[in-house]
Every structure is written in structure tokens, then in C-alpha cells.
Amino acid sequence: MLRNDFQYVLINRENNMEHPGIDTNPTGKWNEEELIKQAQDDLSKFDLIFEHYFDRVFAFVFSRTNNRQIAEDLTSQIFLKILQALPRYKNRGTFAAWVFKIARNTVIDYYRSPFHKATISLNEFDAFEFHQQGRSHEISTNSDRLIDLERGLKQLSTKDQELLSLRFAASLSYKEIGEIKGKNPGAIKMAIHRIFRKLKERMERTNDRN
């Protein structure tokens, strides 16, 4: 009973217990390599991979699309791709980098798709309302600093915004981002440091103007 299994996982994760079907290492920590091997042999264990990555993948996609409904569609596609490709996965780098390569490419494909271009042609007002769906409340009820930050983020290049999404929405390490972008971790760390500096300057400039 897969569904019951999943519910069991949810309940027991909340209670900080281990899933009975998954072998954990002696420290009881998340043993990703072992889990992936087990899930490749028995896909019913895919639930734990899903649980571990769902929030991070969704946050990454939502931050790249700024649209809840599109984020849901793309996240569904991403997990289906991961599930279908998992039996063929070869341990060539970190698993997280592999997962987010799939996520990143799905988002890129979305922006290239004729569907995305058709969406832009919709009534601008409706599109704007739709665009804001789901997050305006969280932002508006939070501090002014968050609003300044959002403005600053919007002024960054797509490349910089993506780096921040990989680091903070997807919670990836510099090494994992480096694998995705084909760069060394030091270069990623430096790039993010520069983005921080840029962001701070832009936020201060906005404040000075106000």
C-alpha cells in the first residue's frame, strides 16, 4: 500500500522516527547514497526522496517563475522526470545537483516554450494579478526590508537571480551549484558575494531615493 506507506513516512518524520523500510546508517542521519541505491532497486522508496526534495524544488521553481500555478505544473513535471530517470541515474556527482539540473532545465524549457510566449499575450492586468497569486500576502504582511529586498532582487540579472534561488530557495551548497553551472565552488561563492554587494547597494539607493 504505497499511499499508506507515504502517510506513515509523514507521520513518523514528524515524530522524528525512522521509516521501517529504509536502512539508515549507524548515526541515523540521512544517508542519501544508500537511499538512492535502495530507491533505484525498489521505486516504492521514492517517497523519501520526494519528501527530502519537494519543498526545495518547489521553492526553486516558484522563485524562478513567480507564479504558483506554473510552479505546481513544473514541479509535477520535474518529479515525474526524476522518477522516470532514477533507474538510470549514475552516481557521477551529487544527487542534489542532478535533481536541480532537471529542475533548472524544466524551467528553462518552460521559458522557451510557445506556451509561455502565449501566456504573455494575455491581458496584462489579469496576468499581473495572477503573477502575484499566493505570495503577495506573505510579503505585504512582513517588514519593509522584505519589500526593499524584492525590489532589489527584481533589478538583478536573470543569472544572478538564478544563483540566489539555487543557494537560498533550493538550499544548495556552493559545490552543488558549481556542479550545476560547470564552475568551481570558489567561483560560485565569489559570485554570490558580489551579488550580495550589488543587492545591498541597490537597496540603499532605493532607500535614499525614498
Binding site: A59, F79, L83, F115, T119, F168
Partner: protein
């Protein structure tokens, strides 16, 4: 005007990092969506596991030395029979290649498509609607309908309701819609895909007008139309193989499915356009004597073919399809010829151009922007840019040197991205007469970066050599 560089301490960094973390934590999913998704994935797990088991049984079978010999002999027999059976026209049922055809939609992959099993009619006091077809596949949901009575509106201004699909208490608004006044027919598009859509859902057209809809897998539907497949009608030019894969005739015309694949790993085949942008010529259909029957200069959007090992080479799709439609050929015709005058494909470039606009923003002034890039044997050189507009909005133009004609493929366009601050409006165009490529950027004067970088991400290469296919029309 000099700008003082502000300090950026570790405390600043930590405070900003905390703020960014808080910001990104607002991007969270609805618990209902998460549960729906895991349930949908569970049904996929069963299918993927079954496929995996079939593959392992197959592989185990061939690990046996006796079976290897049996397989070898079988392959030899099949190959011999195939050679003996060679015929100018080979036929197969579309299903064997997983291609089906839906009137009003076009060619689709049968295995990944859900459709309606018959028209649904619904009416109100002054309006009536007939849902003729619902097509759900990985790229979205399309609903074809006809309507009589008062005209229907599907998107509206602020405050008014809009049409949406309701699935498990979640509403998905219509993304685009169109209406053909002459035929009283329309199309609604939603972003929901095969994965997010169950077999039953509710379509809400207007306030209090709900239509329950049930779809079935296309493989179980009577609407699957057999298409004729030509596995051997292929030609290769400049490393691109183009195949005429299938054709079908319906009430709207004669439709051909073309498939292109790259034999060169450097060419990124994301889109296939069967128009030669240098001459404006598209594809033509000719009779057996070579007389022109019909012309098609409107290449339909292509759809990518799912690849076998998608994540080994994640940044490239190497196979794409497109369909062409013509008026039905005269009944007396026995053979037809399709002449495709050119193809355009996309290739990765990833080269950066650095420009320095300077402080003096005056219309007509030029600024340095030196670069030279080779894209598929075409040399693309820029020396300077020009300020075209300099008031509230700054408009900049970069024009390349004329691109020399290439024997293989001609560069006819690029995609590019802006690597600095606020994203400007931007675009590119290719002048066929002067063979020059132009890039333009337009930005609010407050956001202008005095020096900026743009990256040419992709180049569009046109193959000008024609592809020609001749085949017999089936009785």
C-alpha cells in the same frame, strides 16, 4: 559624476543573508498540492517499476550464451526478410510509432495524450456550448468548443470571474483563448498537464455554469486516427537529417509530419522551421509532373520529441518535429513531391560582448563594443554601438559587419541575454539585403548601466540546400 564605493562588512552580509532566507521561505507549496502530487506519482511508480522489470527480464535473457546465438540468428533472418521486402513505399500504423492525429489539434503522441470520448453539450437561457474535444498532454490542456447564442467571454476585467478548470478543489484559470467568429468555434488553453489532470474534472465557463468532463487515454479512444508512416523518407544536409514521417488527410486539409534530428552533437535542435528566412520561401507540394500544387509559408510550432536518455546530455534536444498543412491534393494524383526550401536550427554560442556607453548620452553618438565570434563557420563581428534615443528611455543599437555567405549554414539570427542590472527591453533582427545582424536594447534612463555585457546564447543557422521527398498517395 563619481560614485563612492560603500563598505560591505561581515555583519551586513549576515543580515542580508538572513533577510534573503526569510524572503525565499515565502515560496512554499500548498499541502493539498503536495498530497495530490505524491498520489499521482504513486500511480507512475507502478508503471515505471513494471517497465523496469520488463527491461531487466529482457537483459537477463540475453546474458545467456545460447540466447545470444538465438538472438543473432533471429536478427539475421529479420534483416534478410526486410531487404527482400524493400518497397518504394512502406506502410505502418501510426500507433506503432506512437503518433496519432486529432482534427483541430494536429499530430500528437498517443501514449501521453488524454482525450474526450464524444461531444458534451450544455446550455443556459441564452447560450449553448458544445465541447468537441479535450486534449491533455505534457504541454498543457486544450479544449475545442462551438457555441451559439450570446457570445461567451473567458477572461475579464478586474473583479469579474474568469473561466477555470476545477481539479480536487483547486482552480486553474484559463491561460489563453481564441474565437473564430466565422465558424462559431473556439479554443481554450490551460497550463494543466497530463500529470496534474485526473480523468474527471469540472470546467467552469461563467458564473454558475459548470460542465463535468471525463477524459480517457487516447489509446482507448475511437478518435485515434491511423496515420501513414514512412520510415525511409529521409535526407541529410549539413549534418541535419530531415524525415517525412507521416501524413493524414482530414476535413481541414492534407497534413504532413516532418521530423528533424541532428547528426552533429553541437547543433541544438529545439525548434524546426521549414522556412528559408533569406528568401521567405517555405515548403511546396508538387504533383507527379513537378507542377506546383500548394505552397506553405507558415511553419506550425514544432514540438520536441522526448529523448531516450534525457539527462545524459541535459542541455540538448536533438530531435524535433513539425507539421505542415496543405489543401487536399486532387484525387487523381498518385504521387506527390514535397520540396522544403530551407531549414533553420538553433545552436549554442555562449559568448559575451562588452560595451561601454560612457556618461555622455547624446543621440547619434557611438560607443565601443568590440567583438568577433564564429558561429557555425559564420563570423559575427561588432565594433561599436549607437545611441538612438536618449530621453526618458535610452535606446541602443549594435549592428554587425555583413556576415559573409557560408557554404554550409548561414547565421540568420541570435538569442541574447543582458548580464547586468535591470533587464532592458531587447531584440534582434537580421537584414537579408545587407546580411547584417542588429541587436537593440531599451532601458529606463535611471537604470542604464554605463558599461554592460550581453551574452549571445544561441545562434540560428539556416540550411539553404533544399530537401525533397516523393511518395505515393495511398488509395
Amino acid at each position: 559624476m563619481t560614485e563612492t564605493r560603500k563598505t560591505f562588512t561581515n555583519n551586513d552580509k549576515q543580515a542580508l543573508e538572513e533577510l534573503i532566507k526569510t524572503y525565499y521561505s515565502t515560496y512554499s507549496a500548498e499541502p493539498a498540492y503536495k498530497l495530490t502530487l505524491i498520489n499521482q506519482l504513486h500511480s507512475e511508480i507502478t508503471a515505471v517499476s513494471a517497465k523496469k522489470n520488463r527491461e531487466s527480464t529482457f537483459m537477463r535473457m540475453f546474458s545467456n550464451p545460447v540466447m545470444k546465438w538465438v538472438a543473432g540468428v533471429l536478427v539475421f533472418v529479420v534483416l534478410s526478410l526486410s531487404i527482400l521486402a524493400i518497397n518504394p513505399v512502406r506502410e505502418a500504423i501510426g500507433k506503432a510509432l506512437d503518433i496519432g492525429y486529432l482534427e483541430g489539434i494536429g499530430f500528437v503522441r498517443i501514449s501521453e495524450t488524454k482525450v474526450l470520448n464524444g461531444t458534451i453539450n450544455s446550455d443556459r437561457i441564452s447560450q449553448a456550448i458544445g465541447i468537441d474535444q479535450v486534449v491533455i498532454n505534457p504541454s498543457g490542456t486544450t479544449i475545442l468548443f462551438h457555441s451559439t447564442g450570446e457570445r461567451l467571454m473567458f477572461t475579464a476585467t478586474k473583479g469579474d470571474p474568469i473561466s477555470y478548470i476545477e481539479v480536487d478543489n483547486i482552480n486553474y484559470p484559463v491561460k489563453a483563448w481564441s474565437w473564430d467568429e466565422d465558424n462559431q468555434k473556439g479554443v481554450l488553453d490551460f497550463s494543466t498537464t497530463t500529470l496534474t489532470m485526473p480523468s474527471t474534472f469540472i470546467l467552469h465557463i461563467a458564473p454558475d455554469w459548470s460542465i463535468p468532463i471525463q477524459v480517457i487515454p487516447m489509446s482507448e479512444s475511437d478518435t485515434v486516427q491511423v496515420v501513414t508512416i514512412y520510415p525511409d523518407l529521409c535526407q541529410t544536409q549539413s549534418g541535419i537529417e530531415l524525415c517525412l514521417q507521416a501524413f493524414i488527410a482530414d476535413t481541414t486539409g492534407y497534413h504532413l509530419l516532418l521530423n528533424a534530428s541532428s547528426l552533429n552533437p553541437d547543433f541544438y535542435l529545439e525548434t524546426l522551421t521549414v522556412i528559408n528566412p533569406l528568401t521567405g520561401e517555405g515548403a511546396v507540394l508538387m504533383d507527379s509532373s513537378g507542377n506546383l500544387l500548394y505552397e506553405n509559408n507558415t511553419s506550425t510550432p514544432s514540438f520536441p520529441i522526448p529523448h531516450e536518455t534525457p539527462y545524459d546530455n541535459m542541455d540538448s534536444l536533438n530531435e524535433v518535429s513539425t507539421s505542415l498543412s496543405f489543401s487536399p491534393p486532387p484525387q487523381e494524383e498518385e504521387r506527390l513531391t514535397l520540396l522544403v526550401s530551407g531549414l533553420t536550427v538553433k545552436t549554442p554560442v555562449n559568448k559575451t560582448i562588452s560595451c561601454d556607453v560612457g556618461d555622455d548620452l547624446v543621440v547619434g553618438r557611438t560607443f565601443p563594443c568590440e567583438t568577433s565570434i564564429t558561429i557555425g563557420a559564420n563570423e559575427l563581428s561588432f565594433h561599436s554601438g549607437e545611441i538612438l534615443q536618449a530621453q526618458n528611455r535610452i535606446r541602443l543599437l549594435l549592428v554587425s559587419d555583413p556576415i559573409p555567405a557560408s557554404h554550409e549554414m548561414t547565421l540568420t539570427g541570435v538569442d541574447f541575454e543582458y548580464l547586468n542590472g535591470a533587464l532592458p527591453l531587447m531584440g534582434s533582427s537580421f537584414n537579408v539585403q545587407t546580411r547584417q545582424l542588429s541587436l537593440w536594447l531599451e532601458q529606463d534612463s535611471a537604470n542604464i548601466d554605463r558599461s554592460f555585457d550581453i551574452r549571445i546564447t544561441y545562434g540560428y543557422l539556416t540550411i539553404e540546400e533544399p530537401f525533397q521527398f516523393t511518395w505515393a498517395i495511398q488509395p
